[in-house]
Structure formats: structure tokens, C-alpha cells
């Protein structure tokens, strides 16, 4: 018997390539897309970021000149700062607010479906619409500020979009309004996946609810949190349309973001080299986010 199985295994071994053949054929287009479009174009972009391409891509290399200029440009530095502030705040607030909403909905309240729809609804709107809506809400002359002033509190001032120091938080508010609903839904799904028995056990042990959430439930939801984290992070790096719709980078340069720099340099300034250098730096930023994620997701398993 043993010999036979060994033999048959030996016979199958050379055909490893043809194992799951259908599945492999089916994935060829996806692999090609990934290699040609993602990897190929990324490499092409990186190579051209070392050239002095203007409107048309040209292979006249100038070394790190584009990067030198990029990192000595005020606008790019402001953009990176803004992305950091927006990114950190957005990450924290989306997760905290999303989780609190999810936990509240999970307490088996009445009209859960209605609330869920209301919270998720902003996600159905595009960033452009979100941006315009919040541009109007935050407009001092006919938005929130004038509404409060009409009620009698005439010294009330809330005008983030025209104040360079806090404009990025005005954008953050709109971003949170749009994105928290989805994270809430994902976390709610995670909460529903927790076994009822765990709740029963903690109740018998007399552990307060908030402690149960903090020390039992949240650690159990690690995979769900990682998914949520990646979704939020991807949304942060590519933030563009929200800014364009709300402030178009103003006042001054106060709400510029990297993606907008890339677009403006490539198409408005007709300076592809500079745009490519900036987009390469954005790729680096994505890798900085991606590497800890990959480590969390796959690195840990090796020790198991």
C-alpha cells in the first residue's frame, strides 16, 4: 500500500505545473494586468522621474534633480504635512467613531436598520458631492455660522475653510462624515461574528460591558480591524477630489495634498518629470503603510 501511494505521488510530481490548470489559466489575465499595468507602469514612472520630461516623456536623464526640486518646494512640503495631519486624525477618528457607532447598534436597539442606513448613506455619495455639500455647510455667509448667529449668538465664529491654520480640519470633517459609515458597517459585521457565549460568560463573571469590549471583544476582532485599517489608509493617500471640491487647495496653499500636486504638475504645469517624482514619493508612502500591514498579516504566522 505504502509503495503504491508513493509511486502515484511520484507520478504526479512532474505534473505540478498542470495541477489546477483551469484555475491557473483563468488567473492569467489578472496576472498579466498586475505585471504589465501595475508593475510595468510603476517602473516606467519611476524611470521617467529621473528625466527632464516636460509635456512629453523623454529619456534625458538628470539624476535626482526632480527630487531635489520636489523636496525644496514649499507646496510639496505643505502637502505632505497636510497628509500626515489628515491621515493620523482620519485613522483615529474613523476607527473610534466607527467602533462606538457599531457597538451602540450592536446593543440590539430599535430601528437598527434605519440607523444603519442613515450612517452608511453618506458613503453612497462621491467625494465631489461630499466636498460641495460641506463647502456650503461651512460657508460663513450662509452655512452653519450664519445659522447659529441667527439664533442670537452673534459672536459665534466657525469658518474653517477660510482660515489657513485649521482648513485641513474642515476637510477632515467632510472626510469623516463620508467614511465612518462604511467602517461602522465592517466593524458591526465583526461584532456580529463574536460568539454569544462569550457575552454570557463575561456576564456571569460580572465584567462590566466597557471592559468586555476593550479587553475581550476588540482583541478578538483583530482581522476585521486590519481590513478597516487598510481601507482607511488607502482612502487617505489618494485624497484629492474632496480637497478640489471644498477648497481647491486654498486659502493659499494651506490645504494642498500630494495627489493634487501630482495632477497639477503633470497636466497644468506640463512638467511630467516633476509629477512623476511626486507620484514616486507617493508610492513610497504607500509602501511605508503596506509593509507593517504585510508584517501584521503574514509575518506573524511563520512563528505559529
Amino acid at each position: 500500500m505504502d509503495d503504491k501511494t508513493l509511486n502515484s505521488q511520484k507520478n504526479k510530481r512532474p505534473t505540478r505545473l498542470t495541477r489546477h490548470l483551469n484555475a491557473k489559466i483563468a488567473s492569467v489575465p489578472m496576472i498579466l494586468t498586475a505585471v504589465v499595468v501595475f508593475v510595468g507602469c510603476s517602473v516606467w514612472t519611476i524611470v521617467h522621474s529621473f528625466t527632464k520630461s516636460r509635456m512629453l516623456p523623454k529619456l534625458e536623464f538628470v539624476g535626482f534633480k526632480q527630487y531635489d526640486r520636489l523636496w525644496s518646494t514649499k507646496r510639496w512640503l505643505v502637502s505632505v504635512d497636510n497628509l500626515l495631519i489628515y491621515g493620523i486624525c482620519s485613522l483615529i477618528f474613523t476607527l473610534v467613531i466607527g467602533f462606538i457607532l457599531a457597538a451602540l447598534l450592536d446593543r440590539k436597539i430599535r430601528f437598527e436598520n434605519t440607523f444603519r442606513t442613515i450612517f452608511l448613506y453618506p458613503f453612497a455619495l462621491s467625494f465631489i458631492v461630499t466636498g460641495l455639500v460641506w463647502q456650503w455647510i461651512l460657508n460663513p455667509d450662509f452655512g452653519l455660522q450664519s445659522l447659529v448667529r441667527e439664533t442670537g449668538w452673534s459672536s459665534f465664529t466657525f469658518d474653517p475653510l477660510n482660515n489657513p491654520d485649521i482648513v485641513i480640519y474642515g476637510i477632515l470633517i467632510a472626510g469623516l462624515w463620508q467614511g465612518t459609515g462604511l467602517i461602522m458597517c465592517i466593524l458591526l459585521a465583526g461584532l456580529r461574528g463574536i460568539d454569544e457565549d462569550i457575552w454570557k460568560a463575561t456576564r456571569i463573571d460580572g465584567i462590566p460591558i466597557w471592559k468586555t469590549y476593550l479587553f475581550v471583544i476588540i482583541p478578538m476582532m483583530k482581522p476585521v480591524f486590519i481590513t478597516a485599517l487598510v481601507l482607511i489608509a488607502a482612502g487617505i493617500v489618494k485624497v484629492y477630489d474632496l480637497v478640489v471640491a471644498q477648497t481647491s487647495g486654498g486659502p493659499g496653499l494651506a490645504s494642498e495634498v500630494p495627489a493634487k500636486y501630482v495632477y497639477d504638475k503633470m497636466f497644468l504645469a506640463q512638467n511630467l518629470g516633476q509629477g512623476f517624482a511626486a507620484s514616486t514619493m507617493m508610492l513610497v508612502m504607500v509602501f511605508i503603510i503596506l509593509i507593517p500591514y504585510l508584517y501584521l498579516q503574514y509575518g506573524g504566522k511563520r512563528h505559529d
Partner: protein, 418 residues
């Protein structure tokens, strides 16, 4: 299944019909798709004059390819269509250096023979317009109008409310500003978009530093002059103007113009296209508003504007139609009709604009006197212009940038300019 079959049959019939039409149709008449970014009321009416002229005078058809948004939105679309092998028959650009690389790559049609046959060299005034269309001795575009930046528009209403006279130059404007502020008005309306800040600075530079210093910096790219005492005065004046512009809180230029029209703001530094807004609002030059070329200090105008370029097409029938359109755009009648609607100055010195209003007449006088400058698009590459825009929008919006700091950075950009 049935639906699919029917659809297929319809498709086949349509294809047959189309090829039939192509076979029998005359080889001469073609459709010319023309792309441009003129979408506001007055602009669309002006473009319609071109379309009318083409449809009536030739057998070709004008296919309107208006792209909404400003030139900043439209130009990338146009350029990627030309680069991507889907060129239109003709397209608007600001003449100058925006198309240099497209011409260099051999993607644009050479119009030299049309220009010679029609004698453009003798009629185009100022000749710098045709020079901007010329690359390596060949002519690649048709200039259609002249727009100038060097104007300030003043609201009579605002000054009446504040109880002071309407200023007649920049110094009086600055002196009258406190009275306006007391009356709860913004002295200087300025929109938040970067090209507006940078345009306003350019106008201040010509008025305050004078023609020589301006040319040294903008034409000869002298970083020394940009860092020098004449430009120091400009930056100091700009800091003062920055104070006057506080409280505008608008983005688009026409919203800022509207502040002037409604008397909420004293004035606006803006190009002559602002005139269209006053006209639409039913205001009369000299009665409801005043325009001062060169801020009333140095009466000069820059001669930028719009031009049409013709991408190279394979079909010879299309090429001859393109050349017909090019000749038509420069013809006397079309120039008059188009520019009256557009509110811009004609590119020919030999046409009569009796219907022009006060401000346009001022512009024509300066043009006839030869007090003209090249436009930003003609002296700077898009890259340099964009860097200046970035600096200016930051400078005008934030008190943190001092005049000295801004001047140093400006001089650096000029030193690297190409």
C-alpha cells in the same frame, strides 16, 4: 435572444447606411470638430460667430467641442487627445509656449502657405501675436483675439457709499481704502484661485516697477532685477494690497467681479474679460464702473489671447478644410463679429470697431499707440508660470510670508526659469 437578433440587425443596417453615406457623400464637405473652453454666455455667443461663418461660407460643418471648466481643465484633455492619436480638426490654446512640444513632435499642421496667401504678416497687429505662432520660421496657429490683464475695475456705488471720489490711479486707490473699510466694504476683491493672485501681482509689477524692470525680469529672466530695489517696491505694494484684499472670501474671478458690480468691494484687478460681467449686469462704463488700464499708472496692455491650432490629420480633404477655416477666422468680418461678442480686441489693425464701449476703446488706443507687452504665456513656460502661481497664491493668502521672503523665492524661480 430575439432582442439581441433585432439589435444586431439594426446595427448591421446602420453600418450599411453609414458606409453608403460615406461612399456617396461629396469628398469635399467634411465635419470639423473644434474644441475650446468658451462656455460662459458671452463666450458661447462669440464661438457661435465662428460656427456661423464656417457653415455659411463653406460646405463644411462646424462640430462644437466645448469643454466645460477653464483652460486648466480643458488643455490636458486636448493635449491627451492629440497625443493619443485622436486629434480634433482645430483646437483653442493660449498662444505662446503651451504648444511648443506638440509642434516639436510634428503633431501640428503648418499654416505658412495660408498665412502667406492671406498676407497675415501685413495685417496682424501687433506682430508679436504672429511671432508667438511662429516656430522655426513656420506659422502654426491663428491668433483670434487680444486679451490684456492690466486693468482695475472700480465700483462707483462703493465709493459713493463711502463718501469718497472714485480713484484715478493706484495711489489714490490705496489712499481711499480706509474710507471703504469704514463703510464695511472690501477695498480690493480677489478670488482664491492661484492664477488670479499671480495675475494681480503681474499687473502691480508693471505699474510700480515700470516697463524696463518688468521686461528685464519677464523677458530676459534677470534674477538680479527680480531681487533688486524696483521689485522690492512691488512686493511691498503687494503686501499692502494683500491687507486690502482681506475678506473677499470667494474663489472664482467672476464672483469677485460680482462683489464690485454689487458695490460690496471697491475694485478688482482683473483682465478685460471682466468687462463681459459688467455688460451682463447692465452696467455702463464711466457711469456705473470705471476701468483703469495699467492701474492708471503705466498705461500699457499685454497682448496675450487665444489662438487656434490645427492638429495634423491624415485625410487631405480634412487638411484643405482646416486651412479654409484658418483663413476664415482671420477674415475681417469674422474678426469684428467675434470680438464684439467676446469683448476682446481684434488681432487686425485694419478693422473698424464702432460698436466698442469705452473700456474697449481705451484698449484700442493703447494698442494703436504701441504701448504693449508680451503676455505671461508668451514669456514663461507652463512650468515656470505654475511655480509663480504657487508662490503668489501662498503670498496673497498668508501673512506669514513677508515681502522679503517672497521676493527671494521669486528671484529663485526667475533664475531657474526657461
Amino acid at each position: 435572444m430575439k432582442i439581441t437578433k433585432n439589435t444586431l440587425a439594426t446595427l448591421r443596417n446602420t453600418c450599411l447606411g453609414l458606409s453608403f453615406a460615406a461612399l456617396t457623400g461629396s469628398a469635399q464637405a467634411v465635419d470639423l470638430e473644434v474644441t475650446h473652453w468658451w462656455t460662459s454666455g458671452g463666450e458661447a455667443a462669440a464661438v457661435a460667430e465662428f460656427a456661423k461663418a464656417l457653415n455659411e461660407n463653406t460646405e463644411h460643418n462646424w462640430i462644437d467641442g466645448a469643454i466645460a471648466g477653464s483652460g486648466g481643465t480643458a488643455r490636458p484633455i486636448m493635449i491627451s487627445r492629440i497625443l493619443g492619436g485622436d486629434p480634433m480638426a482645430a483646437t483653442q490654446f493660449n498662444h505662446g509656449r503651451q504648444t511648443e512640444e506638440l509642434i516639436d513632435a510634428g503633431l501640428m499642421l503648418d499654416l505658412t502657405d495660408v498665412a502667406e496667401a492671406e498676407g497675415w504678416k501685413d495685417v496682424v497687429n501687433p506682430t508679436s501675436l504672429l511671432d508667438s505662432c511662429t516656430y522655426d520660421g513656420k506659422i502654426y496657429c491663428v491668433p483670434v483675439n487680444i486679451h490684456s490683464w492690466q486693468w482695475i475695475w472700480l465700483s462707483h456705488q462703493a465709493y459713493k457709499d463711502a463718501g469718497v471720489d472714485v480713484p484715478s490711479n493706484w495711489d489714490e486707490f490705496v489712499a481711499a481704502a480706509p474710507a471703504l473699510q469704514k463703510a464695511g466694504k472690501v477695498p480690493l476683491a480677489l478670488g482664491g484661485q492661484s492664477w488670479q493672485s499671480s495675475g494681480a501681482f503681474g499687473v502691480l509689477a508693471i505699474a510700480i516697477a515700470g516697463m524696463d524692470a518688468w521686461s528685464a525680469v519677464n523677458v530676459d529672466k534677470s534674477a538680479e532685477t527680480a531681487a533688486g530695489p524696483e521689485y522690492k517696491k512691488v512686493f511691498e505694494a503687494a503686501v499692502a494690497a494683500r491687507e486690502l484684499a482681506k475678506g473677499s472670501n470667494v474663489q472664482d474671478w467672476n464672483q469677485a467681479t460680482n462683489l464690485v458690480i454689487t458695490g460690496k468691494a471697491g475694485g478688482q484687478i482683473m483682465g478685460d474679460w471682466a468687462q463681459g460681467e459688467f455688460q451682463v449686469a447692465g452696467q455702463v462704463a464711466g457711469e456705473d464702473y470705471t476701468c483703469l488700464p495699467g492701474l492708471g499708472v503705466n498705461e500699457v496692455i499685454s497682448t496675450g489671447g487665444d489662438a487656434f491650432y490645427f492638429p495634423k490629420l491624415k485625410d487631405p480633404a480634412m487638411e484643405s478644410a482646416q486651412k479654409e477655416l484658418a483663413a476664415l477666422m482671420m477674415s475681417k468680418e469674422v474678426q469684428v463679429n467675434f470680438n464684439l461678442k467676446k469683448g476682446s480686441l481684434p488681432v487686425r489693425g485694419d478693422v473698424n470697431l464702432e460698436a466698442a464701449n469705452d473700456c474697449m476703446k481705451k484698449g484700442l488706443e493703447i494698442l494703436a499707440g504701441g504701448n504693449i507687452l508680451p503676455d505671461v504665456n508668451q514669456v514663461f513656460s507652463s512650468d515656470t508660470a505654475d511655480q509663480i502661481n504657487d508662490l503668489m497664491v501662498e503670498f496673497w493668502a498668508s501673512d506669514d510670508v513677508s515681502a522679503e521672503d517672497a521676493q527671494n523665492r521669486y528671484a529663485e524661480i526667475i533664475a531657474d526659469a526657461d
